[in-house]
């Protein structure tokens, strides 16, 4: 039998990695003992970093427009930035000015007219339409009435929702208020800030890390720009189509399509559920089959034509990878994780490809060095 010996070099490497792992676990263990302190520190970092990250993401959408304007001779930077800023604020304001009263009106109409019909339907007609049989319906209804399930769930859920909303309200408001200011400074000195960040990186890795940064910027930027555009277009198209087929509350349902479209694959399904349920219950307007068909066509358009065309091949990942990344990042970071799951997964892929390419290049170099006389 062949006796394979481990070389000193290999042994040293194993000892080094084991020491790092043990040291890491040790640090982690000590850190866990002071979890309150770390939570305090992390909250402070979070409140500072969230507006900065938001400004960075927004800059990825806005900066190409400024660059384009400068290329066309609209300058200096302050002028092009001001132009884009005023136009963006005007557009957002106009959007709110047009949408907000309509949405409020439709929601008020719903609670004044249709909500009572829905309650009556659940109490009376649903028994006849219940798919699992009337007996089971009676049992469920009796259980709910006896145990006060709904009121007890509401009693426990409402205060926690209110406290969660109020605790996140002030930081969110602060982030939104800070965003334009941060964005202006960031975009004004975009090149200088990039240069400063570059100067921190050691000279040896500067070129490689700059390349990685540019690739990540390109990927996340393409995703964000495409996604915002898709949200607006699909929201508009859905609103028009819903109005055309005679669906009530078409603005609310259309806006819902636009907003939920930020979540790949699940978004359109989430947006399709409320109008379909509504058409099941409503006595007038289109049937659920038509609303379902409209949503299927929109999903087809979005998934097969617009998304590959607008977002491009930067994010051309298999649907399973995207779905798994949504589940993973969603459970890790909540709603933000669900929204940014695709660019996060794409960034990981960019990172992995970058390391692989670097290794390949190194291997090629070492082979060329060994072959040279």
């Amino acid at each position: 039998m062949k006796n394979r010996k481990i070389s000193d070099e290999k042994l040293n490497r194993v000892i080094k990695y084991l020491s790092i792992a043990f040291l890491g676990f040790g640090i982690l263990f000590i850190a866990i003992q002071f979890s309150d302190f770390w939570t305090w520190i992390l909250n402070a970092i979070k409140s500072a970093i969230v507006p900065v990250i938001l400004a960075y993401f927004t800059s990825l959408i806005v900066f190409p427009i400024i660059k384009y304007l400068e290329k066309k001779g609209v300058g200096p930077r302050l002028f092009s930035l001001g132009l884009v800023f005023i136009l963006s604020v005007a557009l957002i304001f106009a959007g709110f000015y047009y949408l907000a009263p309509r949405i409020v009106q439709e929601i008020t109409d719903f609670f004044n007219r249709d909500f009572q019909t829905i309650v009556i339907y659940i109490e009376t007609d649903l028994r006849d339409d219940f798919i699992l049989g009337k007996d089971l319906y009676d049992q469920i209804y009796a259980y709910i009435s006896e145990t006060d399930l709904i009121s007890s769930t509401l009693d426990s859920a409402v205060p926690s929702i209110i406290s969660a909303l109020t605790s996140s309200f002030i930081p969110t408001l602060a982030a939104i208020a800070l965003l334009p200011i941060l964005l202006i400074y960031y975009l004004m000195d975009y090149e200088m800030i990039s240069e400063r960040i570059r100067s921190i990186i050691p000279k040896k890795q500067e070129k490689a890390l700059a390349e990685l940064g540019s690739r990540l910027n390109q990927t996340v930027g393409a995703y964000l720009r495409g996604q915002v555009f898709l949200m607006i277009v699909l929201g508009t198209v859905a609103t028009i189509v819903y109005r055309l087929i005679g669906l009530k509350y078409y603005v609310v349902f259309g806006v819902l399509v636009g907003i939920t479209n930020i979540i790949p694959y699940f978004g359109m399904i989430i947006a399709a559920v409320p109008p379909i349920i509504y058409t099941f219950i409503a006595t007038t307007g289109p049937g659920p089959a038509l609303v379902f068909l409209v949503n299927v066509v929109l999903q087809f358009f979005e998934g097969n034509i617009f998304q590959p065309l607008i977002i491009g091949h930067h994010l051309s990942m298999h649907p399973i990878v995207i779905i798994v990344s949504i589940l993973f990042f969603g459970s890790l970071f909540g709603a933000v994780g669900v929204i940014f799951a695709s660019p996060m997964a794409a960034s990981i892929r960019v990172f992995y490809n970058f390391i692989r390419e670097g290794r390949k290049a190194k291997l090629k170099e070492s082979q060329a060095g060994a072959n040279s006389p």
């Binding site: 277009v233 198209v237 028009i240 109005r243 055309l244 087929i245 358009f301 034509i305 065309l309």
Partner: protein, 146 residues
């Protein structure tokens, strides 16, 4: 002699002709989509509005044709491998144009019960045309997997 199946590359002129006339065809429907979306139709007489939009459409078409004829030589010399942006523009024209045709049907008092059927027919025709134009002229075959 072996005949080579060489794909013809179209210049910016042909592409501009397609996008310009597509814009002109869909001009009225697209304007009407936005009047429908922002409910401007409730504030003005839509027949008069459509008449003035058609007049503006005709004027733009004449001016645009003249401009294309003047720039013909310059545009003929400019060639790209794929016309991605132009195709992107055409696709959006088609999507909103399709909706616009249905809006016109609604404005002209058509029965709303048939809107889904009309949309499916228009969608099928336009989808075929877009894929055909994309493949042949814009060299952009988005149905093909990379």
């Amino acid at each position: 002699m072996i005949k080579r199946d060489k794909p013809k590359i179209y210049s910016q002129f042909e592409i501009s002709i397609i996008t310009f006339y597509a814009s002109m065809i869909f001009f009225l429907p697209i304007v009407l989509v936005f009047t429908y979306l922002f409910e401007i139709d409730k504030a003005l007489n839509i027949n008069t509005f459509m008449f003035w939009v058609l007049i503006a459409n005709a004027i733009t078409m004449v001016l645009g044709t003249l401009y294309l004829m003047i720039k013909k030589d310059y545009l003929k010399r400019s060639v790209k491998a794929t016309y991605r942006l132009e195709f992107f523009y055409l696709l959006f024209l088609v999507v909103f144009g399709m909706l616009g045709f249905v809006v016109i049907y609604d404005y002209l008092g058509g029965d709303r019960a048939y809107i889904a059927n009309i949309m499916i027919v228009i969608f099928s025709i336009l989808a075929y045309l877009v894929i055909y134009f994309g493949r042949r002229y814009f060299k952009f075959d988005y149905m093909k997997k990379k």
